[in-house]
Symmetry: D2
Subunit: 352 residues, 4 copies
């Protein structure tokens, strides 16, 4: 009953096997290993982007911050949702890697920007006035931080606003696989075909050990990215172990089946929660992240029985009344089982 | 016959087994896993430093650059040898992470600073003059970039100079294990007992997959380090796989036996090269890195037969005369075998 | 009828005379001139702060950005009002000088933060969580960007919130003199006695040529400030001309009489506008900055007749209907005359 | 007898008069004043560069650091002489403004790089290797820090090396006027016609109060410069006083007559020193900066009698023997008089 984060899950067996299989012998270092050539080809193929530059790093924050750094100048803005991971959870890595660009926070329900809220913020950044920071890039997260998912149409509407102003677009796809499964759209449709210029294509949360691909659809930024990656200390010497993870992840659609399992378990959880008296899903839970709420007494019961998840925003008064409604974030992963879900639901129903 | 770099070798079986063993189930993320507690205890024990703060990152450049960032202000200097990895091979990562500190280059034979050359550079940095950058930290590499090793006495002499000026000391120990084996000194003697404040304690080159420990002997800098690590995108979510590597590395002295094997193979190689007509060891090869030189014809023969190593500084004229003497860098690792060495020596002797 | 900005006014005659008087002969450079000693003593005296460190720079942005840089780390926040000059009008200088600190925007009417809105933002910054940026400093502007003024009591209430959280406080006093005149409080009461740690004490807008003092009430940060000033290229070689300006500014209360004139002219303007049909003061105009509004037809008339001021936020439709109400920002200065004001009022009344 | 620095001299009367004349009335701020239009036209005319972008800042360090920031990326090098002002005397401002570029130090007698020493350093920066920093820009100082002057031919030879490698060239012309006078070459010949891309054109040391022009011969970098200047807090609100200085400086060849006077006084000083027993000029003193040496006893006598200049590198042992030879740096300026020189020579001759 571990729903704290998909980061807490282990490595899918196929990926661990690939890491093990990559071990014997010597391999060229720093990304020149032959498996990386295959990874590059696979990603280009998968994204229908034969020119794309493809790089691997080990953390999602590295993927995001390095991507933004090639898109904006230090005196520019990054437009993102107020709840975006790059704003809330990266200790200022985007500011560090970009040399001090300013994150401009966009509103919108369920952690989704809308064309209107985005346009309002961009328009409010004065153009050509040397006293203010300049319009830079737009960064979108899909799956969002509240568990909602942008459809390809919604993405296109947002990137269309960026295009009106001539701004490039980054997509934080730490849970890109879950978004692909949730929407049924193709990887290309959820990225460049919808106007995304640089994609953080997550692997870690979805069954890898620690690998994210950065896919740069316009390869003119490739060399700069390589230099920034090295300078940021994110170029691995024994790169073959990153390559092996990503290679297995992309073999036989593993990445989609892993995400499919996570999303299915979230669906099962949602369906179950819908029948729990006093519990409510508080945001559209389109993929593998569920925000819900129920009375404190049920939290106590579930947490006491060993369930693991975050109360949001944290219980302000753990000694407070039993019937006060407290939020919960539940994240499923490739390794969540039906038993986990059902046991948890039984707890929340007070049956266990 | 792969002597290009210890980075090209694989992962020691014990370490790979530990990674595999770490996989089942869920684990707290971002460094809060229980194995990390054990790693911290092991390192404190090993270094006889019960207060030391211990952190894991995945690359040597991250370990170095983050270490320097907690030791110097942006307007200060880092004194290091002209050939130091932080100067030559990190694409300016120290400048990036420190906010623009200035690396001041110190001379010395065999990539070793001497108390005299170090003192001269420190003294030449004007003190208290707002027009110039200010004296910052000293960074020493052991094993050095030319394969020589500082003894504990030599280290103490260098850090003594730093102390005269009140400067903290960083040690780049990407090959710390090889230095310990080469000198016979204890980890504490080669670090804090010799005046080192922050140590990059390498694992990757010596049989790990990608893990380096940063050991901060004065724990007052710990929280700043944690923030810089996160902001630098070097905090792993699935941290347990870093912990597992380092835990196995430190179990039953594995780190020393791996380095012992590498050093022994280098000794065998050195002994063999000493008997090759026309070949010479060009720098003291105290550990597992050998700089040597021999005629171009032998390079052609060896490289053509599949040996892998770097010509240094690169053959300026690959079509040049056969008898011109060209440098070579040979690095052994935990996985180098006697057969590798002997086959290579036979090639260089022209017998194969 | 020049109300565009106090930056457009010239230099007060006493200050220009002091610059001229400073010219003959040679003087030590880089802030070691004897007049600077007198300036330091005067400011310490004026602020009843015998230990304060005092430095001169030439721009308000330099004063603000350097002040913030000594107060916050790169991974920390600066809490300021959404309309603060440091957020809106400095092209990201605070981010540049601090190494990428994050400005967190606080709401509040009339460009004033309240204890409640400030506390809400500080409290929302998670404490001790390495994933988020850390609580840094509070920056307050007085006179605010909308012309309102914080009383000493209001300041104390705000800095009290900062103190609750252990945060230092910066005051952007580009128009500090106008605030002193408006409140009748002493310089000390409007700064350290109300909890301000570092003050940007403006001169330029109030009759100087280009000089701002940074007053650091806790002198332990002095040497760091000096290094940051030099590294930021803000240490003047011919510093005597900065010293001379500030010295004259502080002689015989000149700084207060200049601000008094500006404030008095704003009062006259306000009183006049109150009698103009269709015109309204839109924010409390406590000092020398007035935000008002009146029909487009009157703007056309006034601007056409040579009045200079900003329409805010700019007329979106200059060809639009005559009776649409459009905002105006009017700034008076030491050099504004009664004739200027009266002629302008006549224009706005449509009598001219 | 003030030879400590040209920074210690005052403002030439014509320039002070222009500042005074600029004062009455209101003027547009932030560089939009009409006098700036004239300054721009004058500089374009003077440099035969009708497309050049021209900006004013108040310090030489700002001119240099901002110029370099538009020429290099953070992961690139700046090649400069080991004694360059940007390396020695700006507290790391180039590193700060460029985001951490690496200054690579070039040798050469009399503070002059040679094509050979420059080429050697550029060639030693590995090209296209992501592990090392990348080749960036070349920065040349003329007049050099040791008082020597590059001829147009020498400049062309150096910039020719830069061109071989495709690198842009910055010229630190804090004493550009003195170099023009010394060489007899035209401003264009000492800048873009000799391959300079961006020039720091000094005014402060040569009779201005505090103004330097940055002349960007390729105007595509203009807007970036403007943003960096504002973000660096170097855009003056009351810009008219910078414009007025530069305008007067360029009127009727004032800048050349001021430099001519300084150079002539240096010539008189040199000629006199040549006749002083025990004194020697230690570097070619081509303009207004003289490095010389004489016995300690004469230093004591001269300094005791009120002469002001720097001993270089500082007297290590002020109580030492009278006949030990100690270096001196003497700088003349527009305001140096024949009486100053002659009185000083008399002192050194021991006749006074």
């Amino acid at each position: 009953m571990y729903f704290a984060s998909d980061n807490s899950s282990g490595v899918a067996p196929e990926i661990l096997a690939a890491v093990t299989a990559a071990n014997p012998g010597y391999a060229p270092s720093y990304g020149t290993d032959p498996v990386m050539d295959r990874v590059r080809a696979r990603i280009r193929d998968l994204f229908e982007a034969p020119e794309a530059a493809v790089y691997l790093v080990a953390t999602g924050t590295a993927a995001n911050a390095l991507s933004l750094a090639v898109l904006v100048e230090p005196w520019q803005t990054v437009y993102c949702h107020r709840l975006a991971h790059i704003e809330q959870d990266e200790c200022g890595a985007p500011e560090f890697f970009t040399g001090g660009a300013k994150l401009v926070l966009v509103d919108g329900e369920n952690a989704k920007m809308t064309p209107e809220t985005l346009r309002a913020r961009i328009a409010a950044t004065r153009k050509g006035d040397v006293h203010g920071v300049q319009r830079g890039a737009v960064s979108i997260t899909n799956v969002t931080e509240l568990g909602s998912v942008y459809s390809a149409d919604e993405l296109r509407a947002l990137t269309g606003v960026a295009r009106e102003y001539g701004l490039p677009v980054h997509l934080d796809g730490a849970r890109f696989a879950n978004a692909v499964v949730a929407t049924g759209a193709s990887p290309a449709e959820l990225s460049w075909k919808s106007g995304v210029d640089v994609l953080s294509f997550g692997g870690t949360k979805n069954g890898c050990m620690g690998v994210e691909a950065v896919v740069i659809f316009d390869p003119r930024r490739a060399w700069e990215f390589e230099l920034r990656r090295k300078r940021g200390a994110h170029l691995f010497s024994k790169h073959r172990y990153l390559s092996a993870q990503m290679d297995a992840y992309l073999t036989d659609g593993l990445w989609l089946s892993l995400a499919g399992r996570a999303n299915a378990m979230a669906d099962r959880l949602k369906a179950g929660l819908a029948t729990v008296p006093g519990a409510a899903i508080t945001h559209p839970a389109d993929a593998n992240v569920i925000f819900a709420a129920w009375p404190r007494a049920l939290h106590r019961h579930a947490l006491g029985a060993g369930a693991r998840y975050y109360q949001v925003p944290g219980d302000p008064d753990p000694e407070g009344p039993d019937d006060a409604v407290i939020g919960a974030r539940l994240v499923t992963s490739w390794s969540t089982t039906e038993e986990d879900v059902d046991r948890f639901l039984a707890l929340i129903r007070g049956q266990d």
